[in-house]
Subunit: 242 residues, 2 copies
């Protein structure tokens, strides 16, 4: 019996018809489906494929033991997550060793931030793995703004809202186009950094890009708005154009 | 009679089954198809959809009057391209005004560099336009390397090889993960910049990502290699991971 294959399937920004044809086929014929989610939630990845899975598909939700309850800087955070990824890896490897293929659902693109990479690095040397790239969440977001994000020689920098404010300011000053992800509780710090870098007035906030409930707002008009962790801020480049 | 719709359809990195389901449907049912190409070439966008267009589809190839024959800094470059885009716009607008839908084929993602934006900005206020985001070429490239490109709080910067060497060096030093596009004749300058920034040994060169002929080479082992303009250099981030 041959070992199964782990498919790391990018789902894209959220709209089902923005999945790739390859992802669509793998999901609609999946026997085993693994996905990460916060405990007690349905999970964004699982929601995106609602109605696409065969009724016979066996689901393996992988529930984070911790999200923001322990600070990133606490060694307990890494230890807890590390044990969790080891558990998930063992379960998936058991299926693969038994000859079953497993489709791991990944929001956005599997190799661009996200959690799949933690399974991937633990399994890639031992079992066949295929990664299906996808439309990134940021691509869904800049498309939603109705304005191209980069022109000519523009430099685009992608920044996580979890970075320290001073680091954000430096990068915001140096790049032409900006994407800021992981917003949520970091919104005030990000607003301050954009103001200090002189980029605040050009910033757009996109929530639920490509999905039901999509909103596109100038950040300067979103004062006091509570926004989800997965919303995205875009500052468009203004490079060369004939 | 109502005005037709211009669809700016991202084709993704090159493999047909990495197009989105939405793009696949639009292309397979297209009546009018517009795409840019270098004069005398079949054109990468057109090649990607080979075999997908209905036999009845009417094609409108838009051939650049100039690519590298005039330096970017020469005002004649902008004037020539500007007149070209005006011509293309007039032709497409004629079709839309006659009630016909037009599918514009865009390599990669329509709003991430590329030429479609020049049509888009000239038409968006006068006719209905829908943009279909896509998997970027860089996403195809980092997937091909078999290594995640960004982890945790990594900063990703996307740089064009057409930038001056000193600017490249500064950005290469400041970011964690790097993507360099528009390689071709800029390869020596890019190699020098990566060496000065201390990133050369970690750089990968990807040619024809996701397509026939795909190659993935450590840049340090690609000495003297002539590489196409559309190849992509990747330096992976090494951020936080449990």
């Amino acid at each position: 019996m041959s070992t199964g294959t782990l498919y790391g399937v990018g789902l894209g920004p959220g709209a089902q018809d923005l999945m790739s044809v390859r992802a669509d086929r793998l999901i609609r014929s999946a026997k085993h489906v693994a996905f990460f989610r916060k405990a007690g939630r349905s999970g964004q990845a699982r929601r995106i494929v609602e109605g696409m899975l065969p009724s016979s598909a066996i689901e393996f939700p992988m529930e984070y033991p911790v999200t923001t309850e322990i600070p990133l800087s606490d060694p307990a955070y890494n230890e807890t997550l590390s044990a969790f990824y080891a558990q998930c890896t063992a379960h998936v490897k058991g299926l693969l060793d038994a000859g079953e293929d497993v489709v791991a659902l990944c929001e956005g693109d599997p190799f661009f931030y996200g959690s799949f990479m933690h399974l991937y690095t633990r399994l890639k040397d031992d079992v066949p793995v295929e990664v299906v790239p996808a439309i990134t969440g940021m691509s869904g977001a800049w498309t939603a703004t109705g304005m191209p994000v980069t022109w000519g020689d523009d430099v685009l920098s992608v920044l996580m809202g979890t970075l320290p404010e001073d680091a954000l300011v430096t990068h915001m000053r140096n790049a032409d186009a900006l994407v800021v992800m992981k917003i949520g509780r970091n919104i005030t710090k990000i607003r301050n950094a954009l103001e200090r870098a002189g980029r605040f007035d050009a910033a757009w906030l996109v929530e639920f890009a490509t999905m039901e409930g999509q909103t596109v707002t100038k950040l300067s008009e979103a004062e006091g708005k509570v926004t989800p962790y997965f919303s995205i801020i875009i500052v468009h480049g203004q490079g060369r154009r004939p």
